[in-house]
C-alpha cells in the first residue's frame, strides 16, 4: 500500500515562538490587527509504503521521533491517505 503523508511540525505549547510573534507583529503593522496567536511551523509531504495503515503510521511516528521533529521542543502531527483514493 502506498500512502501520501502530510505532516506539520510546531513548537510545543509553552515555548516562546519568536518567529510567530515577529510575523504577527508584521501583519499587525500591515493593518491586519485582527490576527493573534501566530505560530510558525514546518510542513512536510512525502509518500510512504507499507503493508497496512497501522504499520505505516507506526513507522512515521518513529521517523518523527528520530529525525523529523525534535521531541524536546516540537510536536509532530500528520494525516495520510492511500494513494489511488478518490
Amino acid at each position: 500500500m502506498r500512502y501520501k503523508v502530510k505532516a506539520y511540525v510546531t513548537l510545543k505549547k509553552g515555548i516562546l515562538d519568536i518567529q510567530g510573534t515577529t510575523i504577527e507583529k508584521a501583519l499587525n503593522a500591515l493593518g491586519f490587527n485582527e490576527v493573534s496567536g501566530m505560530h510558525i511551523g514546518k510542513y512536510m509531504e512525502f509518500s510512504a509504503e507499507g503493508k497496512n495503515k497501522e504499520i505505516v503510521e507506526k513507522r512515521i511516528s518513529q521517523m518523527a521521533k528520530k529525525l523529523l521533529a525534535n521531541p524536546v521542543i516540537e510536536d509532530f502531527n500528520f494525516t495520510m491517505h492511500q494513494l489511488g483514493d478518490k
Binding site: L11, L16, I18, N70, V72
Partner: protein, 232 residues
C-alpha cells in the same frame, strides 16, 4: 595526544579548532570527515561551529545520521572526551549525548560579540583549570543559541552538576541583562552525566591568544590536556 576535529558539510570553525589544538597547544590534530567512521585514534573529539548540513530541517538535525557520529557516540559511551562548540553543542543535543535543545535567539538576531560566562562547575575535565574568579571572556556567534530544557530535565541537570557555564556580566552577575539569547537560566554550557562530553555555545577556539582579544579559551583546552595526561 590527538585532537580529532570533525568536518560536516557546512562546518566553518574547523580550521580555528585545528589551529587552537595544533598551532597554539602544539598537539597533534587531524580532521575527521563526516562520511568516515575512523576516529584516527583521537583522544579528544571536537565538533566545531558552523552550519552543518545547511541547518536543513532544523539546526543540527541531520548531523546525527552521519557515519562519523555513529563512531563518536560509541566513543563517548566508552568515556571518550567530546567537546561540542556552538553548532557542535547543538549536534550533541540532537544526538542525545547531551540533554536539551536549541531555539532561535529571543531578539531574532544573529549575535556576534564577546560575552562573559561564569564557570559553575570546575570539577570537570573541561573546566578544571578555571580557578580564581571563574569568569571567562569568550566570543559567541549564533542565531539559534537559546538553550532550552524543561523543568524536570533542568532539575536533574542541577542535581548531577551538569550545568557548567552561565552567561554573566563582567563582574560575574548572572541575570537577564547578561543573557544574550534567552537561554533558560542563562545556560551557556553543559556536560553529560559522566562529564566526558561537554557542549558550549561560546567559541573557546577563537580566544586562545591575547592578540584575539582574550585568551580565556586556553583554560578549557589546558583542562582537557591535564585530563588526558592523567589518563596515561
Amino acid at each position: 595526544m590527538r585532537f580529532g576535529i570533525v568536518r560536516f558539510p557546512g562546518s566553518n570553525c574547523d580550521e580555528d579548532c585545528f589551529w587552537a589544538a595544533g598551532g597554539v597547544l602544539k598537539k597533534d590534530a587531524v580532521y575527521l570527515w563526516h562520511q568516515d567512521k575512523d576516529l584516527k585514534n583521537s583522544n579528544c573529539i571536537i565538533l566545531p561551529g558552523g552550519f552543518s548540513y545547511g541547518d536543513y530541517l532544523r539546526v543540527a538535525a541531520v548531523a546525527k545520521t552521519s557515519p562519523i557520529m555513529q563512531s563518536i557516540m560509541k566513543f563517548a559511551a566508552k568515556g571518550g572526551m567530546v567537546l561540542g562548540i556552538c553548532n557542535g553543542f547543538q549536534v550533541l543535543c540532537e544526538a542525545g549525548l547531551l540533554p536539551g535543545a536549541f531555539l532561535k535567539n529571543t531578539n531574532q538576531q544573529f549575535i556576534c560579540r564577546d560575552v562573559f560566562v561564569k564557570v559553575i562547575n570546575i570539577n570537570t575535565p573541561f573546566t578544571s583549570r578555571c580557578k580564581g574568579d571563574n569568569i571567562l571572556k569568550i566570543p559567541i556567534a549564533h542565531g539559534e543559541g537559546r538553550f532550552y530544557a524543561d523543568k524536570n530535565t533542568l532539575n536533574k541537570m542541577y542535581k548531577k552538576s551538569q550545568v557548567i557555564l552561565k552567561y554573566c556580566s563582567p563582574e560575574g552577575i548572572v541575570n537577564e541583562d547578561s543573557n544574550p539569547n534567552g537561554s533558560v537560566d542563562n545556560i551557556a554550557g553543559i556536560c553529560n552525566l559522566k562529564k566526558n562530553v561537554f557542549g558550549l555555545m561560546p567559541h573557546p577556539e577563537r580566544c586562545c591568544e591575547e592578540i584575539l582579544g582574550s585568551s580565556d579559551g586556553i583554560f578549557i583546552f589546558n583542562s582537557i590536556l591535564d585530563y588526558l595526561r592523567g589518563q596515561k
